[in-house]
């Protein structure tokens, strides 16, 4: 039994980290902003944490983690002020651009060995560290839901102009959520760096933030824990598919990729509110039959 646990320990760890990342995207989604900068924020957090641990070994882990969360949060402010004025797809593109610039920065920075990245980072993250961080994030976002701030965010999501006329400080709220998302992504980055022993720019490409977005949406943004459900589902799925593929005798690789895409398509078309809306659907159907 312990062997089984050991075999999947890292899977649980990745579920937790991806959960944090999905929540970081959700933070901006819940006020209607599609920000795709989080791979960049994650990179900043990961490198900050790793550099502290490697160059200043006496610093306690919790301080390094705090720095991982703080650094991208600080950068989010000058990024957000000009960029949050843009609507919809333009904001998305601007933030994608930011993420790429961050990645290119690290690819070209010799201090961190460019593409080779930083290696031999002592493994200080444990499953309970990740669980704790995730619980904290869920608590914060959960409390937000029913609160005045939460209602303000919903108002902004529904109709930003109307919200502003009602007196809601839209820029401040949007910026706050961007900063929160950045902090969460940075924290996840710091945790991951200390779990996988290394950090390199290749792990923060455009595809990474796309994964985060997909997990948040597939899980469902109707509930604050939806993104975590999505992260769990989509992190475990490749492993399930790996077994299925092996059982069916298919070559690993293209089959899994295909199913990933197909499942994503199915969810977005037929289950638009994500997986968390499934129980509600069943209940409605059951009631309809009664």
């Amino acid at each position: 039994m312990t062997d089984l646990f050991l075999a999947y320990e890292s899977l649980f760890a990745f579920v937790g980290i991806n959960g944090l990342l999905a929540l970081s995207v959700y933070a901006t989604l819940c006020c209607g902003q599609l920000s795709l900068a989080n791979a960049g924020f994650m990179a900043i957090g990961a490198y900050t944490g790793a550099l502290i641990t490697l160059r200043a070994p006496g610093v306690p882990f919790i301080a390094a983690l705090a720095a991982s969360a703080l650094a991208p949060a600080l950068i989010a402010v000058p990024l957000g002020l000009p960029v949050l004025r843009l609507r919809g797809v333009f904001l998305a593109i601007a933030t994608v651009g930011f993420g790429e610039v961050v990645r290119l920065f690290f690819v070209n920075w010799d201090y961190t060995n460019g593409a080779l990245g930083l290696v031999a980072i002592p493994q200080r993250t444990h499953l309970w560290t990740i669980a704790l961080a995730l619980a904290l994030a869920l608590y914060v976002l959960g409390r937000l839901r029913g609160s005045r701030t939460g209602y303000a965010l919903e108002a902004i999501r529904e109709d930003e102009t109307a919200a502003r006329t009602m007196g809601i400080y839209t820029t401040g709220h949007k910026l706050a959520m961007l900063v929160l998302g950045a902090a969460l992504a940075g924290l996840a980055g710091g945790l991951e760096a200390h779990h996988t022993f290394m950090v390199a720019p290749g792990g923060f490409a455009f595809g990474r933030v796309v994964d985060m977005l997909v997990q948040a949406v597939v899980g469902g943004t109707a509930a604050f824990y939806g993104p975590v459900v999505g992260a769990a589902f989509l992190t475990v799925l490749p492993e399930v598919l790996r077994e299925a593929g092996a059982r069916l005798g298919l070559a690993p690789g293209p089959f899994r990729l295909f199913l990933n895409g197909a499942i994503l398509l199915a969810v977005i078309l037929y289950l638009p509110n994500g997986l968390v809306s499934l129980p509600a659907r069943f209940r409605r159907r059951a009631r309809g039959m009664a």
């Binding site: 593109i93 994608v96 977005i268």
Partner: protein, 291 residues
């Protein structure tokens, strides 16, 4: 100097052709079609497969382009039409196009494998031409020429034909267009056909130009394409053309004077500057700001 300018025009023509399709769909549907790069890739592979099946090049290329257009229609039907009318169609459209892109990539990977595939030697005559002090291959010149012709055809189509007017009407306002009797579904499908055909043409030309086709070949153009359509203005075809060439030249001169490490960063710097200073780009009309 002249050589670099030629290099820039060459790479710019491919960026422009790719971006034109991108911006067309955005203008019409207000959605970013992330599967565009996958169609680019598939078209290159289809052209390769046709040439391997001993079809002459002049036949294989238009067939591949037409196939790409058809893929676009399938894409629209499967991934975009069911989402129309949904409140969050921006994001869900993005994601469903992403899903389709993944599916397309998996298909390409399964059929052609991960290795680089190439056109057989001698598919295109290998001749160098001197222009002033610079040299270009016959292939490069043909590619620039073809790109320009295709973009001109599209512009004419949009400006002069009935279909073009219908597409522009839908881009302006789908509801008004429907009231005026335009078959909105068909216009959108045709817009996708054109967009994907052009994206596919870009892929085929790219494949011929660099003779190095792999399932991830769309990735290098994908993000540049975003910079181009922002610079040119979302929804503006002439904008995409101008911006495509402009970006190609900017990139090349960055490499010449600053070094290639800055090349990609410059594209994104341009992207940011445009979004912050003049979000609607050079020729765009779409409202880009909230306030």
């Amino acid at each position: 100097m002249g050589q670099q300018a030629l290099n820039g025009v060459f790479v710019g023509s491919i960026y422009a052709l790719f971006a034109v399709g991108y911006t067309l769909v955005f203008g019409v549907l207000d959605i970013l079609n992330l599967a565009h790069a996958a169609v680019f890739t598939l078209a290159a592979f289809i052209a390769l497969a046709l040439v391997d099946a001993h079809l002459p090049l002049w036949l294989a290329l238009p067939l591949a382009v037409a196939a790409a257009g058809l893929i676009g229609i399938v894409l629209e039907r499967l991934a975009f039409r069911p989402l129309r009318g949904r409140a969050d169609s921006n994001i869900s459209g993005l994601i469903s196009s992403l899903a389709m892109a993944t599916v397309f990539e998996a298909i390409a990977l399964q059929i052609f494998g991960p290795d680089i595939s190439r056109f057989p030697q001698g598919t295109f005559p290998d001749r160098m031409i001197r222009i002033g002090g610079a040299s270009a291959s016959l292939l490069q010149l043909c590619i620039v020429g073809t790109s320009v012709v295709l973009m001109a055809v599209l512009t004419l189509l949009l400006a002069r034909t009935r279909l073009g007017r219908q597409i522009r009407a839908v881009a302006e306002s789908p509801r008004a267009a429907r009231i005026l009797g335009v078959n909105v579904d068909r216009a959108i499908a045709m817009a996708f056909f054109l967009s994907s055909a052009l994206g596919g043409a870009a892929g085929v030309l790219f494949g011929l130009a660099f003779n190095s086709i792999s399932p991830d070949v769309g990735r290098s153009v994908e993000l540049k394409g975003l910079a181009v359509i922002i610079l040119g203005g979302m929804g503006s075809v002439p904008g995409a053309v101008v911006a495509g060439f402009a970006l190609g030249l900017i990139e090349v001169f960055t490499v010449a004077h600053l070094g290639s490490s800055f090349r990609d960063a410059v594209s994104f710097a341009v992207l940011f500057l445009v979004l912050i200073a003049r979000p609607r780009g050079l020729f765009g009309r779409a409202a880009a700001r909230e306030a």
